[in-house]
């Protein structure tokens, strides 16, 4: 059973996203909404990772060796300025999208494994990830015209 690998993928993606939210928030402290919301959303990601942890541990016992190229590297540090903010939010968007689709995949596997507890965790968390995506999109839509057309 390979579910453990996807749980590991999702777990690490949530941990990385939490870390990236914190870094981007701190790098753009002069955008107070970005700063405060990134800190808040990082906490949600921490909670998601913590809820996945016991399932990852349990399924790991039945798992074969981890396949190659399982994890992705989507974040290489923050930037500054108007376009820098857009690009940083875009990085977060891609990372949240990875979490989002991984929740879907893990949710499907939970049905297959008839694991009600895991399914409950997926249902609790996937909606929050989807809201994170929406917030990032909303904030980027607001910032894009000024950063790309108006600012020098």
């Amino acid at each position: 059973m390979h579910l453990a690998h996807y749980l590991g993928l999702l777990h690490r993606a949530q941990v990385n996203l939490a870390d990236a939210f914190r870094q981007v928030g701190s790098a753009h402290g002069e955008e107070p909404d970005v700063y405060h919301l990134c800190q808040q959303l990082a906490e949600r990601c921490d909670e998601h990772a913590a809820q996945l942890q016991p399932f990852a541990a349990r399924y790991a016992e039945e798992a074969p060796a981890e396949p190659d190229r399982l994890h992705s590297e989507l974040f290489r540090g923050t930037r500054s300025g108007g376009i820098g903010l857009l690009r940083d939010l875009q990085d977060l968007y891609l990372m949240a999208a990875e979490c989002d689709i991984s929740w879907t995949v893990v949710g499907q596997a939970a049905y297959g494994a008839r694991d009600r507890d895991l399914l409950a965790v997926v249902k609790r968390c996937e909606g929050e990830t989807s809201i994170q995506l929406k917030w990032l999109r909303t904030r980027m839509k607001q910032a894009a015209p000024q950063a790309l057309v108006v600012a020098e």
């Binding site: 107070p32 917030w135 607001q142 020098e152």
Partner: protein, 812 residues
């Protein structure tokens, strides 16, 4: 005679449930003048608070000499707030701006209108020439101009320049009211009517010190409380105020925990079966999710988070749950606090759950903080589009494009209009290069003043300020335009219960000062804004023509004005919108049929996630199939972005006194009001004061991570761990050599609600220390209202002979 400084609320006229509120006519005239000395009385309404009290302006020899409440009006039935009784004197102040000013060699010097407007227009054309030129313009307006002026400004911004960067200082006072109404009911617009006070059997005041913010509304509540079958009263406020002292249940909760309290109360309402199952099923969406979410907040948990006794949470729930005609009012304790929109929506939830909406006595006032804030919202001079239209609905944009005869692409609608804090951020970053500030004083009223001053001083930023006086903000401008004010120009405005009043010109403005409408029209003419067919974009030239144009814009929308005319508003009472051919007398209450404007074609928003502000799309909204039902929003409590720590162990909250409005631009120039509250103070709980070695009158330093202020201590009934500073005090009336930092916003945090974008003025962490002995002299805080001292040794605030006004009841 009555001293309305010593007694801001005047004599009682008790009445019972279902009776008409008795008339009481309040008058104040200059010096020894009598009514027979007055040449003419000119119809208007109040502009020094948001209640919308109708007033007649007394004119003698071409000068304003006093005011009298209008007995015929539905809002105040003749009564006036002390700020209205005395505040008109500021019109006659000798330091009014009478000529335009421009900056020359670092100094502001007098000039003529051609020169001043010429500079603005030259800079505007320069900025418009490049790609994305629209994005260099920012407008920061107010909640104190007239409807006609906002609508004109809105058309200039949205169809002339095509910039989304326009907002009002309404962002600081009513943005959350609008957001909560939109989120729950689909569109802005108060469900209730002031006459609900006449019928209710319970009043809940949510973070609303109505006794000092809307005194006439408080008089109405007090008159019910003194009459037969008085309504029960619940107050939620960390301070001790005239309201909390009157209330049957007072919950002095920890600042920033409103959502926890509301969830706890809603849980009790649901668990005890105090909700209207039939109404909920027929008229709302989201009950199951709400019930599930609030179930996690038993009274003990809510009490623990809010730091009040669990038994009091239960008592409050019982008061709410057992009422049959419940009236709720909400203001800054919710709007300027943590999770603002989410908390305000829970009040809407309470009324939806109990089916307490759209009938006499069962009402909600999501209050406004300013007299004309409702119009800023309706006409699109803030973060909304004109006529309460939805920026994300292409058909709404097409309607505006047809109305103005412009291409739809000109109207910025790719995102919501830019909110005030973001406008200042773009100015800070340099992409906004022209900032036009009308009738507001951000150098004193925005959070973190050191930062705001830095932005306004940027040499690259061209700042235009339009005001009556050389305010703290005007001092930093490149061009200052002298405005005419209330009593010197004609226009309409609308209060919180949708009552529209006409305010007529009584006297000429001083010197070369001009009506704000004329200034905007002059700019539009000089910029030569044209429509698609080459005709002037803005064809109107008078207030009445502007009003007629606005009526067309409002046609068919929730705020329909098409049944109103200036003539209809003359002589009698104000009239509540919607007012149409079908409803020629206006509309007392909205949603009497339980049908809400949530239809996707009608609604003002497709909705947002209340925790993050993430926007939902049209498709997502349609999928909910609202079909005229209201939304019950469920939200978990989250702590404030700033909570006390070792270095800053106390919580700061800011607010008003009954004697002043905003940054005292007018009230500080009315002698009676100025004398009643001449200088800043800080309110401390006795236990905190004792621990810090502070007694009444001591000089105290209050510091946050942003800055520090000094103020004399008032030991008051505020909850332990919380300190209060009034936000009124800037430095325009201080000798520059003797200026000490005293503006509350030196301390406040730059943070805002994710949905309404309203700044959080109620939750800054601060440290307090004693700086100097007061020598036994009490602080300058008034002894009336929220700043009432706990010790009896402080002499009472009185106005004396200069404040003698009259109040006539019973047809005298």
């Amino acid at each position: 005679m009555v001293d309305r400084i010593a007694d801001p609320w005047g004599p009682r006229t008790p009445y019972g449930a279902g009776q008409e509120w008795p008339v009481r006519v309040d008058t104040f005239l200059d010096g020894d003048l009598r009514e027979s000395d007055v040449d003419s009385w000119v119809q208007s309404a109040s502009v020094l608070h948001s209640n919308g009290d109708a007033v007649d302006i007394a004119v003698r020899d071409g000068r304003i000499v006093g005011v009298r409440g209008r007995a015929v009006d539905r809002v105040n039935r003749g009564r006036l707030d002390p700020k209205d009784l005395y505040g008109w004197q500021a019109n006659n102040s000798p330091d009014r701006l009478t000529r335009p000013l421009v900056r020359e060699g670092g100094r502001l010097v007098e000039t003529d209108w051609d020169t001043a407007m010429g500079r603005i227009v030259a800079r505007s054309n320069e900025l418009l020439a490049g790609p994305g030129g629209w994005g260099h313009f920012g407008f920061y307006t107010t909640g104190q101009l007239f409807l006609e002026e906002y609508y004109t400004l809105g058309v200039i911004g949205k169809a002339g320049l095509g910039t989304p960067h326009m907002d009002g200082n309404t962002r600081l006072c009513t943005a959350t009211a609008a957001s909560a109404l939109k989120a729950t009911f689909g569109a802005d617009g108060q469900p209730g009517s002031y006459t609900d006070v006449d019928h209710c059997d319970a009043i809940a005041l949510w973070g609303h010190n109505v006794a000092e913010t809307q005194t006439v509304l408080w008089m109405r509540m007090l008159d019910r409380r003194r009459g037969p079958n008085p309504p029960a009263m619940l107050a939620v406020d960390p301070r001790s105020t005239a309201v909390t002292r009157e209330a049957d249940v007072h919950l002095p909760i920890r600042n920033g925990t409103n959502v926890a309290l509301m969830n706890g109360l809603l849980r009790e309402i649901i668990r005890n079966g105090w909700y209207d199952e039939e109404y909920v099923a027929a008229h709302t969406l989201g009950f199951d999710e709400l019930a599930r979410r609030v179930d996690g907040y038993p009274p003990e948990r809510a009490a623990d988070i809010c730091d009040v006794p669990a038994a009091d949470v239960r008592r409050a729930a019982e008061l709410l749950g057992s009422s049959r005609r419940l009236l709720s009012t909400v203001l800054q304790g919710f709007y300027q606090s943590n999770q603002a929109t989410a908390a305000a929506c829970q009040v809407n939830n309470l009324h939806l759950l109990r089916g307490m909406i759209g009938r006499p006595g069962a009402g909600i006032y999501q209050m406004n903080g300013q007299p004309t804030a409702q119009n800023t919202r309706e006409t699109g001079a803030d973060g909304d589009l004109p006529g309460l239209r939805n920026w994300d609905n292409p058909e709404h944009i097409a309607e505006l494009a047809r109305l103005w005869n412009v291409e739809p692409e000109v109207i910025p609608h790719w995102a919501p209009p830019t909110h005030a804090m973001q406008i200042f951020r773009y100015a800070e970053q340099g992409s906004i290069k022209l900032l036009w500030i009308s009738a507001t004083n951000p150098a004193v009223s925005l959070p973190d003043l050191a930062r705001i001053r830095r932005i306004l001083r940027r040499p690259e930023l061209f700042v235009v300020v339009q005001d009556l006086f050389l305010t703290e903000t005007a001092e930093l401008a490149d061009v200052v335009l002298p405005g005419a004010t209330w009593g010197e120009k004609t226009g309409t405005f609308t209060n919180v219960d949708r009552t529209v009043h006409l305010s007529e010109k009584a006297v000429d403005p001083p010197g070369e000062a001009r009506a704000d409408l004329d200034i905007f029209l002059d700019y539009a003419r000089r910029m030569d804004f044209r429509d698609r067919d080459g005709r002037p974009l803005i064809p109107w030239t008078t207030p009445e023509e502007a009003f007629e144009a606005w009526k067309e814009c409002s046609r068919g929308r929730p705020c329909d004005y098409t049944g109103l005319t200036y003539d209809k508003l003359r002589g009698g009472s104000g009239i509540q919108w919607p007012c149409t051919d079908a409803r020629p007398d206006g509309t007392e209450r909205l949603y009497t049929d339980g049908i809400f404007p949530t239809d996707p074609e009608v609604c003002e928003t497709y909705g947002q996630d209340l925790a993050t502000g993430a926007e939902f799309t049209a498709e997502e909204y349609r999928a909910k199939q609202p079909g005229g039902r209201a939304f019950l929003h469920a939200v978990d409590y989250r702590p404030s972005p700033e909570v006390p720590d070792e270095g800053h162990p106390l919580l700061l909250t800011t607010g008003r006194t009954v004697y002043h409005f905003h940054t005292r631009t007018k009230t500080g120039r009315a002698p009676q009001l100025d004398a009643a509250a001449p200088d800043v103070w800080v309110e401390l709980n006795v236990a905190d004061a004792e621990r810090l070695g502070i007694v009444e009158g001591d000089l105290v330093g209050v510091a946050s991570a942003r800055g520090a202020v000094q103020a004399r201590a008032r030991l008051s009934g505020i909850r332990p761990g919380v300190v209060f500073l009034p936000f009124h005090y800037g430095w325009f009336d201080q000798d520059p050599a003797e200026r000490t930092p005293r503006a509350a916003n030196e301390l406040t945090i730059t943070a805002w609600d994710p949905v309404s974008k309203q700044p959080l003025f109620k939750v800054a962490a601060v440290a307090v220390a004693r700086l100097a002995d007061g020598g036994g002299v009490p602080s300058p805080a008034p002894t009336v209202g929220g700043s009432a001292p706990v010790a009896a040794v402080v002499p009472a605030t009185v106005g004396g002979p200069a404040a003698e006004a009259t109040s006539h009841t019973g047809g005298e």
